[in-house]
């Protein structure tokens, strides 16, 4: 599909980056975050930059606007900006604090940042932040500014722009904030829009909407878009051209078709391979015998409900079972109550009603909801949790060894045995034991997740509640992680409650799946059945919003929206 046909000038290069090198001087020498990157950005086209975390995508984008964090600096190369009137400027040569580059920032090249909450000031009103660029570049009067901002808010489909304009960011949901960022970037009608992972923090449905929005705006404004992501599905959905980066270098560059269907480079091939891998059920799972339906359940949850003090009923009459050795997937859009439900199972939150019958190792059954504190302590040794956010769940001032050792220590292990066990665990999850004295921040996202897993399995649990254990990881890591978890499951006879909003992940690894919507389980069943023959409308809507990692089959714009009116309760502002 080629939406650019409508544009008058085709294939006109707006931004030409040539041999860009951005280095960070460190104690050990120069760190080459961007090392000889070249690409062209054409009017009306979308260039997607992909690559794992830390490959230099963001630094490349920031280099263009000369807003690389200290001590980074552009060491060489050129960034040629060609304007509509034909004049060109080499942005790389400009003084980073000078007037010229400031004239380019926001006006000619605008940027959308990755983290919508912290990228917006918490104490300034939405309207002021969006209108600021207008004031800086055009000196527009307050009144006109307001009008233009309202128009922008309407464009990005913020409901009730007249009131929204005077609100603060924390009053907005993640999706709305991301829209605000987009409106801000669009304020001055830039020729180039750089979007640095604008949807990473969002759930699929919202992501689909944002992607749609960007594409529509691109069409109407004729912008060139530099889109940074590590989600190959997204790439397949929107890219014209793709740039694959690895360790600061460009691995491969070409039209999206070529990258997906005829990758040249090994790294690209690996990347695409793992994407494709996740499109099916895991091989190990295909061959595994089914768990007999009459095995007594390990966990039997009945009519579980939980209401937050704010009055929100986040878990509403949920019933489910987990059999030994089984993986139960929980899917649902953001805010549907998955995490809350998972936490209720461990009594991190106090559920107000229902039963959570857990079968202990000795065969006895305990109701977690009413267990006493010492019983709870024991249960929590058998039922463990992997947290959604690998950064937040690791104490920042503890070394990895200390983190992994903690549950062991509290279980009474000491000295040499403790050290050895920690080392063993680290090896088990594929971490180098020699890194045990490092702090979590010195690890990559995938490695951090492994730390979380190691901590979870340290005391030989029987059930692990994995809350979006892989959502923060890029594709290649994700499949590695899932494989690891399955390996451990087979080795240790674990059961999982696997919470995710990513259907492909669920499909890959879960035996059964339950779909959550607004605190309720709307559908449950065998994975194959739910994925291939969804019974509930909501499930279908959810499935349709998932980007398909195949540029030949772009479909999220054809997605189907679940009619909220069908649900029991009225729709909140945004999910």
């Amino acid at each position: 599909m080629t939406p650019e046909k409508s544009m008058t000038i085709e294939n006109e290069t707006i931004l030409k980056v040539d041999d860009l090198r951005t280095y960070f001087p460190t104690r050990t020498g120069l760190f080459k975050a961007v090392d000889g990157v070249s690409f062209d950005l054409k009017r009306g086209k979308t260039l997607c930059v992909v690559g794992e975390s830390g490959s230099g995508k963001s630094v490349t984008a920031r280099s263009i606007l000369q807003i690389v964090d200290k001590p980074g600096r552009i060491e060489g190369g050129s960034i040629l900006l060609t304007r509509a009137d034909g004049s060109t400027t080499d942005l790389a040569k400009l003084d980073a604090r000078g007037k010229e580059i400031r004239g380019v920032r926001g006006k000619e090249i605008a940027m959308i940042f990755q983290e919508p909450m912290s990228s917006l000031s918490p104490v300034h009103r939405i309207g002021a932040q969006i209108g600021e660029g207008l004031r800086i570049h055009f000196g527009i009067s307050k009144k006109d500014q307001r009008e233009r901002v309202l128009e922008l808010l309407r464009q990005v489909e913020i409901p009730r722009p007249e009131t929204a304009i005077d609100r603060y960011t924390f009053e907005f949901s993640g999706g709305m904030r991301q829209r605000v960022m987009i409106a801000m970037a669009l304020a001055c009608n830039p020729q180039v829009l750089i979007a640095d992972e604008p949807t990473t923090a969002l759930d699929v449905t919202t992501q689909a909407e944002i992607l749609d929005l960007i594409r529509r705006l691109q069409k109407s404004h004729g912008m060139a878009v530099l889109f940074i992501t590590h989600d190959m599905g997204v790439v397949a959905e929107i890219a014209d051209e793709v740039l694959v980066m690895y360790r600061g270098k460009v691995m491969e560059r070409g039209p999206v078709e070529q990258i997906f269907h005829a990758p040249q480079d090994d790294y690209t091939r690996g990347l695409i391979g793992s994407v494709v891998k996740l499109e099916r059920k895991a091989e190990v799972r295909l061959t595994r015998p089914d768990i007999p339906a009459d095995t007594p359940p390990l966990l039997d949850v009945k009519n579980l409900s939980m209401t937050f003090p704010s009055g929100l009923k986040a878990v509403d009459d949920v019933s489910l079972i987990v059999r030994p050795g089984e993986t139960l997937g929980i899917v649902g859009e953001s805010g549907s109550g998955k995490t809350t439900m998972g936490r209720c199972l461990l009594r991190i939150y106090e559920p107000e009603s229902g039963t959570i019958d857990f079968r202990r190792a000795d065969g006895s059954t305990v109701d977690v909801r009413t267990a006493g504190s010492s019983a709870l302590k024991d249960i929590r040794r058998e039922m463990r949790m992997i947290f959604q956010d690998p950064v937040g769940s690791l104490s920042p001032r503890k070394t990895v060894a200390q983190i992994i050792a903690e549950p062991l220590k509290l279980a009474g292990m000491k000295g040499r045995t403790l050290d050895d066990r920690v080392a063993e665990l680290m090896q088990q999850v594929g971490l180098e034991p020699a890194w045990r004295e490092r702090y979590p921040h010195a690890f990559s996202g995938g490695q951090r997740q492994r730390i979380g897993i190691a901590r979870a399995i340290a005391v030989n649990p029987r059930l692990i509640i994995a809350d979006e254990a892989t959502s923060a990881l890029d594709v290649s890591l994700r499949s590695q992680m899932l494989d690891l978890m399955m390996k451990l499951q087979d080795e240790m006879g674990l059961s999982y409650v696997f919470i995710s909003h990513d259907m492909s992940v669920i499909r890959y690894m879960c035996d059964r799946v339950a779909v959550m919507y607004r605190g309720k389980i709307v559908e449950a069943g065998d994975t194959d059945q739910v994925v291939n023959h969804p019974a509930h409308d909501y499930t279908r809507a959810l499935l349709s919003a998932i980007p398909n990692p195949d540029p030949r089959d772009r479909r999220i714009h054809n997605r189907f929206r679940y009619d909220a009116a069908a649900a029991a309760r009225p729709v909140p502002a945004n999910g």
């Binding site: 960070f24 001087p25 460190t26 104690r27 760190f31 975050a33 794992e52 975390s53 830390g54 490959s55 230099g56 001590p71 360790r247 600061g248 461990l346 991190i348 302590k377 929590r380 040794r381 463990r384 949790m385 947290f387 959604q388 956010d389 937040g392 769940s393 690791l394 104490s395 920042p396 001032r397 503890k398 070394t399 903690e406 549950p407 509290l410 279980a411 050290d419 080392a423 090896q427 594929g430 971490l431 180098e432 034991p433 020699a434 890194w435 045990r436 004295e437 490092r438 702090y439 979590p440 921040h441 010195a442 690890f443 990559s444 995938g446 490695q447 492994r450 901590r455």
Partner: protein, 383 residues
């Protein structure tokens, strides 16, 4: 960091004992590397270490007894040491010639270059016990051959002809020790109470917060005066001072407690805290094992600001006549003794030397704190 992110786990060297030892050393090595990078912190470390050495070996370093008076040299100005004499290396000072102006009741001093008084290292002295138990008869430096009329006042003399240098050196003992005790006391109180307040929230928090507000809203000076005046007069000076230190720190903890509370309130629902709870850790254990370390850099910063306040609180107490009692010497006492226009106008060295000692130690502690904080902060990149 890119360079470690993609090391495929399989290729990592397998565990052997040596690697493990290196890895254990790594944390401290990292710390040291980061710390070393902080030049001023390094210098401060040296300065502070020196000050503590001076305090510990005050008896050896101070050339004179800090309480020894000398009627001949009241308000003698500092004497500069000249290194060369008659073209050879012979450190000396010029003898001071004193004339008493009976009209102005002032002694006037003039150095007499014709009468050099030689100064040397490791000079003999009256016997004393270093650290209270090592019998010694040598001082680090002093007059090699003291005669009547000779003097060595590096920092000048006070109203009783006591050697300010020796007094500053001895003052370091109190100022650098008991003051710290108070600081640590407020630290412990602040962290514990603030931690409890922030961590448990609810009514505990309300009660503790009201209590803190209460303490904070009472002006410090009346509180000090009231408490200090309630101390029995019969107590020995050191104990009195110790109790006063406690009193001062009892009030000092409140600000720290508030900060800790705020931080804890925001952290108590973080995932890593939940994780620790799931691991079966007790609430107090969580506070001290997880929350406090995350708060370390702030604590260090607060601490370095608290030390001068402790030293100053002591001087304020002295000003009110309820501070340290002679013969105990502290920098605060020295400053208090300089608290009159006579010293300000005619013997500024009485003011400047203890003030300089305080400023230098406070600055060094501060920079040292900065360095330690940065080094202890895993988020500070090692650049």
């Amino acid at each position: 960091m890119t360079d470690i992110t993609h090391l495929p786990p399989e290729t990592g060297p397998s565990l052997d004992l040596r690697a493990r030892d290196i890895a254990v050393a790594g944390q401290w090595k990292l710390f040291w590397l980061k710390f070393k990078k902080h030049r001023i912190a390094l210098v401060s470390l040296v300065v502070i270490s020196c000050m503590y050495l001076i305090a510990i070996f005050a008896d050896f370093i101070a050339p004179f007894d800090p309480n020894a008076t000398n009627a001949r040299f009241t308000y003698a100005p500092p004497q500069g040491i000249s290194l060369m004499l008659d073209g050879s290396f012979r450190p000396h000072v010029s003898q001071l010639k004193m004339t008493l102006n009976t009209e102005s009741m002032r002694r006037e001093f003039a150095p007499d270059p014709q009468k050099p008084v030689s100064v040397g290292f490791f000079v003999p002295s009256n016997p004393y016990n270093l650290l209270g138990f090592i019998p010694m008869q040598t001082k680090l430096f002093g007059l090699t051959d003291p005669k009547v009329g000779d003097s060595l006042y590096l920092f000048g003399a006070d109203r009783l002809g006591r050697d300010i240098f020796s007094r500053v050196v001895h003052g370091a003992q109190i100022s650098l020790s008991i003051g710290l005790v108070g600081v640590f006391l407020s630290l412990i109180l602040g962290v514990t109470i603030g931690g409890i307040s922030g961590f448990f929230g609810g009514w505990t928090d309300v009660v503790i917060q009201r209590f803190i507000e209460l303490l904070r809203s009472i002006p410090t000076i009346p509180l000090w005066m009231g408490l200090a005046a309630a101390i029995p007069v019969g107590w020995p000076p050191l104990r009195t001072y110790f109790v006063i230190t406690l009193i001062v720190s009892l009030i000092g903890w409140t600000s720290l407690a508030r900060e800790v509370r705020g931080k804890f309130l925001s952290m108590r629902n973080e995932d890593f805290v939940t994780a620790a709870r799931l691991d079966g850790m007790s609430e107090i254990g969580i506070i001290f094992n997880h929350l406090v370390p995350s708060f370390m850099s702030h604590i260090i910063a607060t601490l370095t600001l608290a030390i001068p306040s402790m030293i100053l609180a002591e001087t304020a107490l002295s000003f009110l006549g309820i501070g340290l009692q002679p013969p105990i010497i502290s920098w605060g006492v020295l400053l208090q003794e300089a608290q009159n226009i006579r010293a300000v106008s005619q013997a500024p060295w009485l003011l400047f030397t203890p003030a300089a000692a305080i400023v230098i130690s406070v600055l060094s502690l501060n920079f040292l704190g900065d360095g330690l904080r940065d080094a202890a902060d895993p988020y500070e990149a090692l650049t």
